[in-house]
């Protein structure tokens, strides 16, 4: 872009940021360096508005007061435009810069955000000691984060069902993004895989939802918690070489017992039974479902089908 256009965009932003009342297109055409021809002006002005919006500048449309017939005018409300200063110290800014260099979300750049916070400064450490492959992006990620932050209910299609969700939390787990929220269709808290959302998430105009009534359950530990089946607690014994792994992997609230032979007994909440079955089978004959009987029998039936 040539400088005259940059100059015009900056002056347009300044004009609308400074305006206490909406400014009409006609006033904008007069004040700034736009073509005199109406059609050429409209074309240039539309492009400029699109560019500002693409930069995340909140361009608001309202009627210019005292005009009949009504005339549309534009404003950039400073309180919606400006960043509240988080007051980062230089080492905090440096640490954020280092983290953003080490961990990237595909297709999203943290650089523009860092510039707003005070620029790119060097961190105390030179690296984080782990090379992190870029996290996969999801087209609905930013929209869902905005909805989580502003407590805006969203509508989305999931499992061939249109649902309204109060989005509570986003998680990146085992290489995938998940949403936890209150599902008004199921009338319960549910986990959703972002990659399985059909189409685009749409924020509703409805009022902000209240904070979750009960504290959120701990994050989903595995795919066996990411289903729609009736929730049930399964008790599992893991022995042999994977016992050590289980001991490290599951927290004390999951571990029921460590037996003398080194095997570990754990309780897991399950609402996705086939995923749970695959998890148990991945231990080969080192694991056994102790209870409930229905999950034991389900597994036995499955295995008999194979033998």
């Amino acid at each position: 872009m040539s400088s005259p256009k940059l100059e015009r965009l900056l002056n347009l932003t300044a004009l609308l940021l400074n305006a206490s009342l909406p400014v009409s297109a006609e006033q904008i055409q007069t004040a700034l360096d736009y073509p005199d021809d109406v059609v050429a002006f409209r074309r240039a002005f539309e492009r400029d508005k699109d560019e500002l919006r693409a930069m995340g500048i909140p361009l608001r449309l309202a009627s210019v007061p005292g005009k009949l017939p009504p005339v549309d005018g534009y404003r950039i409300p400073p309180e919606e435009y400006a960043l509240r200063d988080p007051g980062l110290t230089i080492d905090e800014l440096g640490a954020l810069h280092l983290a953003a260099s080490a961990v990237q979300v595909e297709g999203l750049s943290a650089t523009a955000g860092l510039l707003k916070l005070g620029g790119l400064v060097a961190a105390g450490a030179s690296d984080i000691g782990v090379r992190v492959a870029p996290l996969p992006a999801d087209p609905n990620l930013a929209c869902l984060f905005a909805a989580v932050a502003s407590r805006t209910p969203v509508t989305m299609r999931y499992g061939d069902q249109d649902r309204t969700i109060d989005p509570y939390r986003l998680e990146f787990l085992r290489g995938r993004w998940y949403l936890t929220g209150y599902d008004h269709f199921r009338e319960a808290e549910r986990n959703f895989r972002l990659g399985r959302i059909q189409g685009t998430v749409v924020p509703t105009d409805g009022p902000a939802f209240l904070a979750p009534r009960a504290p959120l359950q701990g994050r989903a530990e595995g795919p066996w918690e990411l289903g729609d089946d009736e929730p049930i607690v399964a008790r599992l014994r893991i022995g042999g070489p994977p016992a050590q792994w289980a001991l490290q992997h599951f927290g004390p609230d999951r571990i029921v017992e460590v037996a003398e032979d080194g095997s570990v007994v754990i309780d897991l909440p399950v609402n996705h039974r086939s995923a749970f079955r695959s998890f148990v089978l991945s231990f080969l004959d080192h694991a056994e479902i102790l209870s409930p009987v229905e999950l034991r029998e389900d597994l036995i039936l499955w295995l008999r089908g194979i033998t």
Binding site: E7, N18, L83, E92, L96, Q104, L115, L281
Partner: protein
């Protein structure tokens, strides 16, 4: 729109909207510091300042324009109240920054109250969220002690002895390795290393390392870790042919397939290399009726059936 740092309209404008309030607040910073912080060359900075000098408010008389002054190696900007504060973060930028911060903080051994932890909390605060409640990133599980030893081995270029549970072979193994790199990928942490026992490069999942011991022997790291090649099956590994139901089609994406062919009955016939029997057994156990072994060497053709029988023995 160009994505170069100095590049397109949007990038340049957004840089200016961030840079102007910062320069105003610093009251005469060094131009070299402005260049470093905002990733511009001195020439680009000069061009940017020339534009700023033409920006202001109606009636655009000299007293209504932003004032830029350069003296020696310092720069001042005045009368820029309209651009007194940087622009709010877009959701994209907020997600990118908070995800990066939360990821690094979630690595075992990270200090929640260090500069990063404090910075993330402050940033989340102005966005109106409690980051620990709304965003969680798990790059992979690891014991703090093991991960610490691995990082030391990598940075000090010292060999490690590993007690490792090989999932594919379902066995505990002992080996000495040259640790090259710790890597987080697809939700797991891995150690990329040269294994002295296998005499080849291998990838170890950190949460399956039962214990690690730092040895005194050093090693020389290979120059380019970017071109790491994952272990691939070799020609001598046995091949198995499977028929997969449509419900099991995900397998084709999840594992390297040597051939895929659609059968008249709608099933997919695939050929896979089997590096270890437990791997095939797990696959067949998980797929159950959705997969059928068509051909394979005598030892493998019954892998699923055999494994199912062994597990059933636990359920008398």
């Amino acid at each position: 729109m160009s994505k170069a740092a100095n590049g397109g309209a949007a990038a340049r404008m957004q840089r200016l909207l961030a840079m102007v309030p910062w320069i105003v607040a610093q009251d005469g910073p060094l131009t070299s510091e402005v260049c470093a912080r905002f990733e511009v060359t001195p020439e680009q900075l000069a061009a940017d300042l020339e534009v700023i000098w033409l920006v202001g408010l109606p009636p655009y008389t000299p007293d209504a324009l932003i004032d830029v002054k350069q003296e020696g190696d310092r720069v001042w900007i005045r009368f820029a109240e309209v651009f007194g504060k940087p622009q709010r973060l877009t959701p994209d930028q907020a997600v990118a920054l908070l995800t990066a911060g939360a990821s690094v903080l979630a690595l075992p051994g990270a200090e929640p109250d260090g500069p990063l932890g404090r910075g993330v909390r402050k940033l989340a605060g102005v966005l109106g969220v409690d980051v620990s409640q709304v965003l969680e990133v798990d790059l992979g599980a690891a014991g703090v002690e093991v991960l610490d030893l691995l990082r030391r081995g990598v940075s000090e270029q010292r060999q490690l002895h590993l007690d490792y549970y090989s999932f594919a072979r379902d066995a505990r193994t002992q080996r000495n390795v040259n640790p090259y790199l710790v890597e987080a990928q697809d939700g797991s942490l891995y150690l990329l290393a040269y294994c002295h026992q296998a005499e080849a490069d291998r990838r170890f999942r950190v949460d399956r390392i039962v214990s690690a011991t730092l040895l005194d022997d050093t090693f020389v790291a290979p120059p380019a870790m970017e071109e790491w090649r994952l272990f691939e099956p070799d020609a001598s590994d046995p091949r198995v042919v499977l028929d997969l139901d449509p419900a099991a089609a995900w397998v084709i994406e999840a594992y390297p397939m040597e051939s895929v062919e659609t059968r008249p009955d709608g099933r997919q016939r695939v050929t896979v290399a089997v590096t270890a029997e437990p791997w095939l057994a797990r696959l067949l156990l998980a797929l159950g009726p959705q997969a059928e072994v068509v051909t394979g060497p005598p030892g493998l053709i019954d892998a699923g059936r055999r494994a199912a029988g062994e597990i059933l023995a636990r359920y008398p």
